[in-house]
Symmetry: C2
Subunit: 429 residues, 2 copies
């Protein structure tokens, strides 16, 4: 690696040059908002017409890379996802830091609509590989966010990080019914790339993988084609592959007090302002589901299929009444329904910020679509949020008959980086 011959305690040479460069362009280049559509022009000019106004939706949306929190958590959920987990190779602690610096630099550029590296896809030496793979040339970032996380396995003796492992970064327990596949599980590092344009999300993961060459390699990865969560009130509730509205009761970015309590990690260590990400690849046996009655489907979910209203009555956003009963005094919302078991009132108030995506990965040898939900959630502490909720669901949820958890990961998502630093710098301080 050409940048490792002059190690720095803080930024690598590439990183240092890069951040200075970004500073010269001005804060606007990586701040929220763009007044005009931004393209990666072959001449690599800074995005034109940028302002610091609130980010627009659609192709022109640009979110800030730097800040108190990483983007991609409470950011309005984009339509498409490329998620990747990495194993760190046999490198030194300093080389791991440099990788994170290089990733931060490239991510800050790509989120701003620039190429992954200073020289871009066609601006470098003719006899050298380009600095960017090029498939996002001409494309605006379409709200691209790139969010980095650290898995439990990073905190071992390889990098002298064992003592820095947060208590909340637990190893997930085995949940009843888990059918985890080794090569869809775990990882030292993760990157969540979300954009309204899948080509932009793929371009981000591909270029970050390329930058990691020799330092970290892809362990597993997942494309999601359609979001199943709304993270702001302005977004319409989308549907999962069971055909039901999903995420009606999700935390929303506007609920700032709830977000402060349930999403952002507290304490005064390097994770302050960070969050914990749990990812689960959940295969749905949709062919079986499709042959069940509408009654069975609604009973399992606890909501109507059309409007997404709780079976206790009202509209989509009416609070479920779990005490309401019907014929023979049976509860209108079944004891084993998903909506009941997942509800905060049944989980000591525990709630999660979900950011899920539908996936289809071809089909299996029996002609069944390999389809389901790539579940992502963010939280302040998995020990009191994802783990107990999922234990309850895994034990009792009637939906389990139609689900199989095949992939899993938990990651500490550090706070956002300041302009002169990189994501995760606090871990090495």
């Amino acid at each position: 690696m050409s940048d490792t011959d002059d190690p720095q305690p803080g930024l690598s040479r590439r990183g240092l040059l890069g951040f200075l460069g970004a500073g010269a362009v001005g804060v606007g280049a990586v701040a929220a908002g763009a007044a005009a559509t931004t393209t990666r022009s072959p001449s690599f000019a800074a995005p034109a017409g940028q302002s610091t106004s609130a980010a627009q939706s659609g192709a022109a949306a640009i979110y800030p890379f730097h800040g108190e929190h990483q983007s991609g958590i409470v950011t309005p959920a984009q339509d498409r996802l490329h998620f990747a987990a990495f194993d760190v190779s046999d490198v030194t602690r300093a080389e791991l830091q440099e990788l994170l610096q290089d990733w931060s630099y490239a991510a800050s550029r790509m989120m701003a609509g620039l190429s992954a590296g200073d020289l871009g896809a066609v601006g470098g030496a003719y006899d050298a590989p380009p600095d960017d793979t090029g498939e996002a040339l001409d494309l605006p970032p379409a709200g691209l966010t790139i969010t980095f996380g650290f898995g439990p396995s990073l905190f071992d003796e390889r990098f002298g990080l064992a003592s820095r492992r947060p208590a909340a970064l637990v190893d997930l327990p085995h949940f009843p019914g888990d059918a985890l596949v080794e090569n869809l599980t775990g990882g030292d590092l993760c990157i969540q790339a979300c954009s309204d344009d899948p080509q932009v999300a793929v371009h981000a993961i591909r270029n970050l993988s390329r930058i990691a060459f020799g330092r970290a390699s892809l362990r597993w990865s997942q494309l999601g084609f359609g979001r199943t969560s709304s993270t702001t009130r302005a977004q319409v509730t989308p549907r999962n592959l069971f055909g039901f509205k999903d995420g009606t009761a999700n935390l929303r970015a506007e609920d700032t007090a709830l977000v402060d309590t349930h999403v952002w990690a507290d304490g005064d260590d390097w994770m302050t302002g960070g969050s914990y990400l749990v990812a689960r690849k959940i295969r749905m046996t949709i062919e079986t589901w499709d042959r069940t009655s509408l009654r069975e489907q609604e009973t399992v979910v606890g909501r109507t299929k059309g409007d997404g209203a709780p079976l206790s009555g009202g509209g989509e956003f009416t609070e479920p009444d779990f005490s309401a009963t019907g014929r023979d005094d049976a509860p209108l919302i079944a004891e084993t329904s998903h909506v009941r078991l997942a509800h905060p009132s049944m989980n000591n108030g525990a709630t999660l910020l979900r950011r899920g995506y539908n996936f289809v990965d071809g089909n299996d040898e029996l002609g069944r679509l390999n389809a389901g939900l790539f579940f992502i959630c963010f939280q302040a502490d998995p020990r009191t949020q994802f783990v107990p909720v999922q234990l309850s669901l895994a034990r009792h949820d009637a939906m389990n008959e139609y689900l199989r958890h095949v992939g899993s990961g938990i990651f500490a998502v550090p706070p956002g980086a300041t302009q002169d630093s990189y994501v995760g710098a606090g871990l090495f301080a």
Copy 2:
């Protein structure tokens, strides 16, 4: 199957009722064009505000199911793809016909923005499985096209179709370098679903698979996240995962004389007005490509990476000058470049209508993205078009170092259906 107790020589009962229903709604319901965004409302009303004006682009676009040709061939290439190949089960010829009728009926509904079946996702009996899986409720069709094809293996003694096999529906030869995987190859039937919304394309394939239950099963399938071809002049040339503009020299719908000659099958048999589809799943070794110089990349392609101009000079749409030479009288466009070998002038004038998509299917065990190009082309006769062009490319193309053909299929795509019939009816006449 509840609809097979009253077999009809023409339409099944479901099909007959369905087509009458569609007729009663009016031609506009399945004709090109919608003046307003169309949604699958739970009440299954006919799309409101439709007219017979030209189809709009974007979410509101609706293309006709019925007509001289099937939609999805010269239709402006939509952004997303779900392609599926099926094996027909042990059914009778009459049951195969009924499957095609049921598919045509459901496809005509979904392309018009309606649910897959009359009763929809929530309008049927509470104790029966819904008529539609529901994940596209609330979504406009976003230009959905559903295109059906018949593979060579359909034309055997099972269905008495051996004598109806078109001469142009050849078995593809083994091309040098082919690394085909059995379960990504072949199929009795295929369905190409394209839409600007991937959830709508997935919904179409999923519901058509569901309707086929017991009669045909998925053999292989592929999602494409980004188009790599323009089929009309109004579309910007997109980029493939090599980072180059792809399809600059593609046939366009506006070139009606060329399309008549090179896309639509001729003769006076049941394929008149049809076309032949060849699909190739081409894995790109992008990690190797990303480490080659810009010079090597442009030499292999024969065009510049930034603008897509031929290396003989000019702009993207300048005709390549294969006789132009530079230093040492070497050709500016290399003898083994992709653009030269694929050019009609090097292939007895053979040209193809391409409709390709980028794909990423996770990664392999070595951490390489399983990514590439899902190549689809349409043509009047593969014997004089795809086969000789691909033979030349497979033998000489410098790009082969970075490609591996892993999946393959060839399908006869029958003409469009009339309002009172179904796709493929001519095959059984």
